[in-house]
């Protein structure tokens, strides 16, 4: 309770500010409308009207919640208007990119730790690759893969997501695989352990805490990559496409509902990674 109270207080504050901002921003439209009709309206009349406009500048929280609920529970899950369906498309892309990113990150980290030339030549470029804004590359990757005859958007989306999510894994795994100190390495040498055995029995277990710490960053990055991959022209499925559609058709409620669906998704994915981490730690005998 002592931990929840401050968080709840700040959340309540945010909601209060949000309502105030919604009244302030949506009122302009009502005043304009009244002026055009030659009427005068008082604030007492305006405030209820700011709460349920069809196209509000800033929808108040309960409107967003209602739209979100309608999108999640009010449709069949297979419907094109169901947020569950769009969320599923986004999660599929995110998980594919996440998996690809982990494989790439771990393989690169292994070869960087093993070969000095990889460390010197690839590592600086891996860092530079993250300073390149992926969104500039995203439309490029989409056209490139369609030119190469890959149908659908799953593969290009996964590539974009992997591009963002491999880096945290790479950095943490390099650190983790180098975590065993000289004493431990020497001990394994006295046992006559080869390079493979040292890797499997010392370096890999030692890197696990680093690995799991990086997964939470990587899954969030992967989700951002997937949504960015859904934004550029032509996407019709996924939460990113939903935001684009809301923007193009001037439907703010659709945008806000998609945004909150993406936020909830991010929270669920991070929680899921946390659960996997706890299971793996218990399995490996790390005291909680």
């Amino acid at each position: 309770m002592t931990r929840a109270l401050p968080v709840l207080t700040v959340l309540a504050g945010i909601v209060a500010i949000w309502y105030a901002a919604a009244v302030w921003m949506n009122a302009t439209w009502i005043f304009d409308q009244a002026e055009r009709n030659g009427q005068t309206v008082t604030w007492a009349e305006v405030i209820p009207q700011t709460m349920d406009q069809a196209r509000p500048l800033l929808p108040p929280p309960h409107q967003v919640a209602a739209e979100l609920w309608k999108g999640v529970a009010g449709q069949a899950v297979t419907s094109k208007r169901s947020l569950v369906y769009h969320g599923y498309v986004t999660v599929k892309g995110t998980l594919m990119g996440f998996g690809l990113g982990i494989v790439m990150g771990v393989l690169l980290a292994m070869s960087i730790v093993r070969f000095r030339v990889m460390d010197m030549s690839v590592m600086p470029w891996a860092i530079i690759s993250q300073t390149i804004p992926i969104v500039a590359l995203a439309p490029m990757i989409l056209t490139l893969s369609s030119q190469l005859g890959i149908s659908g958007r799953d593969v290009p989306k996964a590539i974009i997501a992997a591009y963002l999510s491999f880096f945290p894994v790479l950095v943490s795994m390099v650190k983790g695989l180098r975590a065993p100190d000289q004493m431990q390495l020497d001990l394994l040498r006295t046992y006559g352990a080869g390079e493979g055995a040292t890797f499997l029995k010392l370096r890999l277990p030692a890197s696990m805490p680093y690995f799991f710490a990086s997964l939470k960053v990587a899954i969030a990055a992967s989700l951002i990559g997937t949504i960015v991959g859904e934004l550029p022209t032509g996407a019709i499925e996924g939460l990113g496409a939903r935001m684009l559609i809301g923007s193009q058709f001037g439907e703010p409620l659709i945008m806000w509902a998609a945004l909150f669906a993406a936020a909830i998704l991010a929270g669920m994915l991070i929680l899921a990674v946390g659960v996997v981490e706890r299971l793996a730690r218990a399995r490996m005998g790390v005291p909680a």
Binding site: T9, V117, M123, I128, A136, M140, I227, S247, M255, A262
Partner: protein, 281 residues
Amino acid sequence: MTWLVGTIGIWLAAWALNARLAASGWARTTAGKLAVPILFGVTILVLWEGLVRGAGIAPVILPAPSAIAAKIAVSLPTLWLDFSQTFLKGALPGFVIGCGAAIATAIAIDRSPFLQRGLLPIGNFVAALPIVGLAPILVMWFGFDWQSKAAVVVVMVFFPVLVNMVAGLQASERMQADLMATWGASYWQSLVKLRLPAAMPFLFNGLKIASTLALIGAIVAEFFGSPIYGMGFRISTEVGRLGLDMVWAEIAVAALAGSAFYGLIALIERWVTFWHPSQRH
């Protein structure tokens, strides 16, 4: 065919040379540390050029680096116009405002542990959210010009910097705080002389993350509406016209700008936090 064989030959030779360099004592010098990655980068470009020419890949799929360089050379004014719209007007003011607001907020809530305990988990959560999704909403509010781009950047950089700054302000040790107290230092004196400097390594971590986010935010926001120039606008229209050499030229500018911005912040970091163990050599 000769192109392919030649390219692969050059690649193997360069790789062998790099392996030799990395194994030799020369690898420990600064020149060696620079030469190896540069050689690797050049090899990638040669490989790209050779594959495109050797395999006869159409320019609408993947233009060769030489074609991209030629395009950059003839369209410098356009590239500069796009760069100044997206980076100088969109990303940079947004970065300064967003980071400034985050630092100010962190200092403002510093005296209230209650607010900190409330804001930190929320900030951490929001920092992991796909904030880019706010871009269409902010474009709707602030119009198509650079103001909406700057607004997207402000929101994107705010939370990572806030979280790092709050963590940084808590980083000074108990002993150091006690020492300041024995000297009779006021809250502001100990803030300026002890806790702000101690927070700098954390702050710069946040600023580095924010520097890459800033450019992403400014470019994404242009996908949702922009004047008829800007890097995001140019990329999305040229992709539609299959003018891929221009797209790659913009990517090159974006890569250069992103790396230079990051490098600049890393340089300032080295200068400000020279005392930190990670900066000692």
